[in-house]
């Protein structure tokens, strides 16, 4: 089973993600900060844990984050692209 997890928060999900052990992560809402924000010069540790990483473009724009600043490991998708990710990249999906 290939599991994709929606991450909608920036601070509170890392431990839960470790326990769930998804195959990929989809960053939405405040979770999009993982895609761009650096802490002490370092990218989010989440980005080095998963090979399949997506971020919702509309939620980047809502927060004033330029898609050009998104880490190269993360693929930027719109809602239409997100639907394809849900149906084609993962067999199960969950929301954190």
């Amino acid at each position: 089973m290939k599991l994709g997890v929606f991450v909608s928060d920036f601070e509170l999900t890392n431990d839960t993600l470790d326990r769930v052990g998804p195959d990929g992560v989809i960053l939405v809402a405040n979770g999009v900060y993982h895609a761009s924000l650096k802490t002490d010069g370092k990218a989010s540790p989440l980005l080095s844990k998963y090979s399949s990483l997506y971020v919702l473009s509309e939620d980047l724009e809502t927060r004033g984050i330029d898609a050009a600043t998104v880490d190269s490991k993360v693929k930027v998708v719109d809602y239409s692209g997100l639907v394809d990710v849900i149906f084609n990249e993962f067999e199960k999906i969950a929301w954190l």
Binding site: V28, L82, V83, I86, F87, W95
Partner: protein
């Protein structure tokens, strides 16, 4: 094409998770998928008819109505709705009123399920 079932529990006004659920439902429907949305918990407040559409707050009535016209099915948890004072005769026309078994049945027939928890 597949079927997506979304369980939506977060409340309505100013809630980005609720907005996300409707936008995802619309995008999936526009791509030809079947979409069911189950409202439970505070999300059931969004089926009240006659919502005032404020500029700076998300409201649902127009969006829900448009999505139902496209073929998205919405079902509200009857118990959650009446517990919040939402009455069937003053709710948005076309929204199904039922119980958890409707959601379970929809999940059973779905290719993908996304449950978005409440606040």
């Amino acid at each position: 094409m597949g079927k997506l079932t979304i369980g939506c529990f977060p409340g309505l006004v100013g809630n980005m998770s609720y907005d996300f659920a409707l936008k995802l439902a619309e995008a999936a429907k526009d791509k030809g998928h079947d979409v069911d949305v189950w409202f439970s918990g505070n999300a059931t407040g969004s089926i009240a008819a006659g919502q005032k559409h404020l500029k700076d707050y998300s409201t649902a009535e127009q969006h829900l109505t448009r999505l139902m016209e496209k073929g998205v099915k919405f079902c509200t948890c009857e118990a959650c709705s009446v517990a919040r004072g939402v009455k069937k005769d003053s709710s948005i026309e076309g929204v199904i009123w039922n119980a958890m078994h409707w959601y379970l049945g929809s999940i059973h027939g779905a290719d993908r399920v996304l449950q978005i928890g409440g606040e």
